[in-house]
Amino acid sequence: MVNLRDEELQRIAQQLGRDPSVVELHAFDAAWSEHCSYKSSRRFLKNLPTSGSRVLLGPGEDAGILHLGTHDGERYAVVVAHESHNHPSQVVPFEGAATGIGGIVRDVLCMGAEVVAVADPLRFGRCDDLASHQSHIARAAVDGIGAYGNAIGVPNLAGDVYFEHGFDENCLVNVVALGVVNEKDVIHSYVPKGAEGWQIVLVGKATDPSGFGGASFSSLTLDARDAELNKGAVQVPDPFLKNVLMRASYRVFALLRERRIAAAFKDLGAGGIVGCSAEMTAHGGYGAQIELSRVNVAVEGIAPEVIAVGETQERMMWVAPLEFVPDLLRIYNEEFSLPEVAYNARAVVIGEVTAQQRYVLQYRERVVMDVESEFLTGTINDELPYTEKIYHGVSAQELPAVDIEGIFPRVLAHRDVCSREPLYRRYDSVVRGRTVLPRGAADAGVLAPVPGSRLGVALAVAGNPRYGRIDPAYAAEQAVLEAMRRVVAVGAHPIGLTDCLNFGNPRKAEQYGEFVAAIEALARAATELDLPFVSGNVSLYNEAATGRAIPPSAIVACIGSIADIANVITPGFKAAGSALLWVGSRELVGGGSVLAELLGHKGTLPHIEYDAERAALAIVRDGIARGVMRSCRVVADGGMLTAVARLAFDALLAGRKLGAEIDFGNPLCEAGGFVCEIGGDSGMDVTGTLQIGTTIDTPELVVNGTRFDVERLYETWSQPLAQLYP
């Protein structure tokens, strides 16, 4: 079964001058699926800013690359990729989420990088009933992410989670991976000039029928009745094999460096062998000739079209010069003994690069595919109609005065605010010994990725579905701002962004319009803040059979650089008597806030003012530079007072019993900005900030005269998710 539409089939037949073969049909089905071709998103995605002084590589290959800093005269870069594995995680949550991590890790690895961190933005259905299908997915997906990342030894550094009815039938499992590479050792996903006659080497797991139809599967609306039919799209994770593959690949990288040999390396993702080999050769201006019967398979009798486009996990492809191939095979097959690690896993030569730009597949010496490379890999567009979305700021009533004593504990216990620790403590956040701020310790995770160096990298994600429900474009813009603020709040300098756009059905003008509006908003925010998008992914058709789409979810990750990890802001209040400043927007509006939801109030969305945003960033960075920034947190879910409480919790966990006195009209607004603890006589220009209070030497929060015990608030905040994640 293929999902190509009639006009697409006609186009293929016309170009070939004949009916396509079965293999060709499946190859085009994968290549022209939304997942591979971005056919309905490409024309909008090109509006995102993707260049800048830090950008070594923007979108287009397996991952983007940003300059991080210099150590010992060597220039280092971070490699970052961001994807979704939503549909597979809905069908088989453990395996689906695990293979999400497996795939994103390969994207970073294939740039020649050492993989140093992962992150996992998650959106699940409501899990109030612990025995529900939604709760099962929420647990199994987390266990899959943990099982995979923990075993390969890559720390989970950042992530977030929301539980909304809008995700009841379509969970979102987004994954981000980060790598580090010496800039002169980057390996590209396509062959360089002079690659004619190079050999195409498939590495990894034996190809099996799993994941056949995966590319078009992830571009289809999910229907419960089809679950059984979709079983072919179930992918099987093997983190043990991946652990070995990663280390074997590092060994190959070292040998390539030593011998100063160039080669191309790419992950097999959507579209399998065809998708990967066609791009690697065509983008270098070459063709390929491949013999499918040379592919190591898991079971005899797999049809050639399955070998050609099946998406068996844990596979990668090298295209390398002849003289290097024996070493390549020896490292994977003998030194790292792949055949003993997984059934029939190995590195095997399956074809070669050809001068004429044709993509030719043979199976048992019979030609089963012969097309122009450019036709297969070239861009295609789907000009679908969409409804232009213009959102008018709802002029709602202002928030009523709140009973802070009663409502604040409810805000802290809210599913969007309460501690995520029960979830993320299932993830290894400290393996490899390079962690500076582990998952959950602060607004962003921080690593020292280059051993022996003071360079640091910060990573954070954001994407608030409460905003998404109200205004997809606003939510997208805020996602950029929040991700960036999080990185700033640990003392890092934001250098780049990635995104995953999780939306509904592009064939429905209304849902497509949300998507288009969100991209415009991302572009606006990134342009205003001068931050490039270097990697990203689009996940459409997140719609249940009932036609209900998810809350539009533009999820953004921000990468920050740190010149000296000694300047990272450590968590929690440091001392009594510090000034607490609210830096940034402080509008007294409640639209999209947790407070508004609890009160059943609509409220106005806070305005986004880029001048104010840039000024706030400058103040925070000035405070760090002067060494007076004792602690800092962003104002996000749960509002300013939640940020203050988190700083007190962080101090409590570090054994410092400190609190704060706060005097501010409605401290539960989520207008954005930062809460900063500023020590001593700072001498800072704090124009535009507001002192909202002072730290005190008792573990209490005194809010407009109302007293809260920090330890009791901590109990309230830390417990709720322990039900779902015991």
Binding site: A151, F240, N243, D428, V430, G433, V436, D564, A566
Partner: protein, 256 residues
């Protein structure tokens, strides 16, 4: 030439780099030995088995690795009195190999680090180890002060000591309980134990005192930059915290 330390790398090991780096930062002459070079392993003076998931802990944590060819050398070395130190997966392998507590015979385990309880899940949590033996009882801890407290990270799904009541009695009576979990103050209670481990056990030593197996990772809280509560002015790249145990190991090797 100072004594040579091997860090064997099994298929699935994942903490080899930080283990190696910390050994070297503590003055040890250490190198990785990959499974394809198993035959070289006999030529070393001491062994540190790093964390990870050797053979992905399939069947049981450490079970398949305990039969790996590399363990033939380690078992022989342990029998001849060389120092062997296992961390996390390394500890699980030493138990499955029967080297600790060492109350049975080789590759016939009398205890296990097994599935956490009550929640049977992976747990990543900062913890403290408390030395529960006289420092000199184990060569590797000999340079630690009495009742030493060592910061570390627990990061495992199978870290709970379990054995039959009879074997647990042997562990206590034989002085095999090397480390327990504790709070930073040294106080010991259930809340300090991340995994339901019997006896609050975080580490075991063999009878001769040359083989030590601990579940938590001191090498992940070993440089100043790893500490959330580091002080301003501390050199972020200097070793501290959990590195005391590695220093003690390197010192023991120098004096043996």
């Amino acid at each position: 030439m100072s004594a040579r330390i091997a860090v064997p790398v099994f298929p699935g090991t994942n903490s080899e780099d930080e283990t190696l780096r910390l050994l070297r930062d503590c003055g040890g002459n250490a190198e990785l030995v990959h499974w394809s070079q198993a035959s070289n392993l006999a030529h070393y003076d001491a062994y540190v088995l790093a964390g990870g998931f050797a053979y992905e802990d399939r069947i049981r944590a450490g079970a398949i690795a305990a039969h790996d060819r590399m363990m033939d050398s380690v078992i022989e070395a342990a029998g001849s009195g060389k120092l062997v130190f296992g961390i996390c997966n390394g500890a699980q392998i030493l138990l499955e190999a029967g080297l600790v507590p060492g109350t049975g015979s080789i590759r016939r385990p009398t205890a296990a680090f097994t599935r956490n309880a009550p929640a049977p899940h992976f747990v990543c949590r900062h913890v403290y180890l408390k030395l529960a033996i006289e420092p000199a009882r184990c060569a590797i801890t000999a340079a630690l002060p009495e009742d030493a407290i060592v910061p570390a990270w627990a990061a495992h799904a199978e870290g709970r000591l379990a054995a039959t009541p009879e074997h647990l009695r042997e562990i206590v009576a034989g002085g095999h309980l090397a480390f327990t979990y504790a709070h930073s103050t040294g106080a010991v209670d259930q809340a300090a134990i991340p995994n339901g481990s019997a006896l609050g056990c975080a580490g075991l030593v063999n009878r001769a005192g040359n083989v030590l197996a601990i579940m938590p990772h001191p090498e992940r809280d070993a440089w100043n930059f790893n500490h959330l509560d580091r002080r301003e002015g501390d050199d972020v790249l200097a070793t501290s915290g959990g590195s005391v145990l590695f220093r003690s190991f390197v010192q023991a090797l120098a004096s043996s």
